[in-house]
Symmetry: C2
Subunit: 431 residues, 2 copies
């Protein structure tokens, strides 16, 4: 690529601070690694923390301001294993990815050291430690891995870190955050899941703002909760900290894709000021110890109801040996009354059937319509304002701990981690 | 109930215009029918069109202004079968429901005549005709009924009505609107689906505003499309007209539960002024004839992906004899790569597998991540920005018309009724 030629021609390396002039404008910044070798863009990190991409054609002037200080860097130790305040556990996803330049596809690949190379400012926020636990895209996440993540996070908190940051793909981040929320009973500090929608080697990447603010939250926020910290609006102004059981990825590609559903975000983190603004005092506080109980039984199914679904199909499904179903019903929590018999038989056979709504926003209420009453008679349990995904993860957790159907119902309706919110405000529904 | 006693004591009937005084405030209006016999509320329709509920205790003064004009009413014919401009087809749902006062549950029950008795203003908007086609809650809706609705709507348009209003439960309204959208190739006027979240006999009901504005849209809007017309915000100010294939019920109970997803609403209808404001010029125009082709094959399945879903379960599902699957994948359109073999085998066997996103907002893009590329290799077809529910209904329609997998793919990727939108605006994502 031309960018590479340009750098070698001027004897420049990644990490060097340079000043250049283009179209009459002067820009000063650190040269960042790029992985798209076939284009003519170099990426500079500016003083204000932003990355910009600059085409190397027509650059008029290049001046080396400071060579990358190799020795000093090593010594200061971006990644220091002793005495750390925040532990970064990397599981994969775009936030730790680079673009394969042959195919243009994104693969998780960056090491924690490389991340910190992208974001030298991290050192000013906290003493961090980092490890790569997995290198997967989060669509390949599994309940077994949730357990490993939980165990590593506990270790990190037990060792005295003030909080933990988990770099994770955005696709299934909300499932993982729910799984961790149900697994931890007590926590000495926040566990912050963070991802990004654009990979770190793109100028428009949201990873540095998301990661930086997450480290801030992990170190300074008063929460003893599992949270998700992601862009709050499209530009780089603030992130929102969402409760781990009340959050959802609501857009395939926007940076501000994550929203709290049926709850307020816990906090807003201002990027420029590096300030945490608490938005809700309804959070779990830190405890003096960490207690973990991470087990999941995935013999469950998430059934989204639609007109035309046949009771036979559902019977066939249940016959595959599942122990529980979360229905994503219509409206206040309905399916066709044709399912009465199938659900009744299944719940008699000990299969838990819980009801959530495909509306996502709002609460189920199965007392308003005759259809809802019938379903309740058949044994279907209305799950308040729980998100379908959260209810599913909670059911996996519950089934790994209980066999008795009555106890399972009881646990499903107990508010374990803020997954049930009894008070809905008007502003909780975005329009 | 006390309300009933109050009326008979003062020799008043539903339909009478009265003036009363309570707590020093004078109110004038038409007495509306109420079905909750066990309370002490009477409902008055005010001149401005609003219904208010008034407790009969402490009413200081009651004056009869005008007795209900039985003869004239008959003659004017709220429901007139000849020469109508708008046909109202009632399928059930809250909008045509009353509350069972024994149980408090809601049942579809009102006749078109009763609806018009609730809303005498209708006569001023259009000459209407009305029929009860079904009396079901929409959670009990089925593809067979979609066909019946489509046929009745066609008859009404063929007879010369300017438009059709379909009163429908909100739960599955978006599925029906999608089904009608794919069934009609050409239309001489709008088909407007309308529902309500609170039943007509409640003072807070949204039915009169929704029905009235729908009649307005059916009569005057320039669309040759199937649309959904529902409250645009919580108060009684305006409704929004959504394209039938781009709309979703996003809240279990709010009046403004319906949102356009990945598209702008087509119009805003101002309730007070009775004005239609066109918001998007990207609508289908009226045609000179109505062509209908309504067939559906429900051997399909809507599979919402989640971590922990096992390929075996999906294989088991497919073995039940389905011809197509719509996946609600994560993010840009993913599942775990563990599903590669199952999907590959299924699509080799002629099962269509289409990908949508559980994010709902945004477009799938299966070229960004290696996981997406693998799925495409296995035969999974990315379905642009289609809603999962719309894609499912479209697949039911397509499978009823085609057997060849390549033709099925081609149709699924052809924009038949605006279900694919190539241009997304920033404001299409509510926050
Ligand atoms: N597909 C990626 C997307 C991301 O990281 O944002 C993942 O979830 O791992
Ligand atoms: N459950 C009802 C709700 C409504 O009418 O709004 C139905 O869809 O028929």
């Amino acid at each position: 690529g031309k960018a590479r030629e340009f750098l070698s021609k001027h004897n420049l390396d990644v990490g060097d601070i340079i000043e250049l002039e283009k179209n009459g404008i002067q820009v000063k910044g650190i040269i960042m690694p790029t992985y798209s070798n076939n284009d003519d863009i170099i990426v500079l990190k500016l003083d204000n923390g932003y990355n910009i991409g600059i085409s190397v054609s027509n650059i008029q002037n290049v001046k080396l301001i400071e060579k990358k200080r190799k020795e000093e860097k090593r010594r200061e130790g971006a990644v220091s294993t002793t005495n750390s305040e925040v532990m970064i556990i990397s599981t994969g996803g775009t936030i730790v990815s680079k673009i394969e330049y042959e195919t243009g596809a994104v693969r998780p690949a960056l090491t924690p050291d490389e991340i910190i190379e992208f974001m030298p400012e991290i050192k000013e926020i906290a003493r961090i430690d980092a490890e790569i636990l997995f290198s997967i895209l989060s669509e390949n996440m599994k309940p077994e891995y949730w357990i490993k993540i939980a165990e590593e996070a506990k270790k990190a908190l037990d060792k005295g870190n003030k909080g933990v940051v988990i770099a994770h793909g955005t696709d299934t981040m909300a499932y993982t955050s729910a799984a961790l929320s149900f697994s931890f009973r007590k926590m000495t500090g926040p566990i912050v899941l963070v991802g990004s929608q654009r990979s770190s080697d793109r100028p428009s990447s949201d990873s540095s703002m998301n990661l930086l603010t997450s480290i801030l939250v992990a170190k300074n926020a008063p929460f003893g909760e599992v949270v998700v910290n992601m862009h709050g609006e499209s530009s780089d102004t603030y992130t929102l900290v969402h409760r781990g059981v009340k959050v959802r990825k609501m857009h395939t590609s926007r940076r501000d894709a994550f929203q709290s559903i049926n709850d307020l975000p816990l906090a807003k983190v201002h990027y420029i000021d590096k300030k945490i603004e608490i938005l809700s005092d309804n959070y779990r506080s830190k405890e003096s110890e960490n207690t973990l109980d991470a087990k999941f039984d995935n013999r469950v199914f998430l059934l989204k109801y639609y007109p035309g679904l046949s009771p036979d199909m559902v019977e066939h499904l249940i016959s595959s040996g599942i122990r529980g179903i979360i229905i994503e019903g219509t409206g206040l929590g309905h399916t066709s009354s044709d399912f009465y018999e199938v659900f009744k038989k299944a719940s008699k056979d000990g299969v838990f059937i819980g009801m959530t709504s495909q509306c996502l926003f709002g609460r189920v209420n199965m007392n308003v319509y005759t259809t809802g009453r019938l379903l309740q008679e058949a044994g279907v349990v209305p799950l308040e304002d729980m998100l379908p995904e959260t209810a599913l993860v909670k059911l996996m957790w519950t089934l790994a701990h209980e066999n008795d159907l009555d106890r399972i119902k009881e646990i499903m309706l107990t508010n374990l981690a803020g997954e049930i919110n009894y008070i809905h405000h008007y502003e909780m529904f975005p329009r």
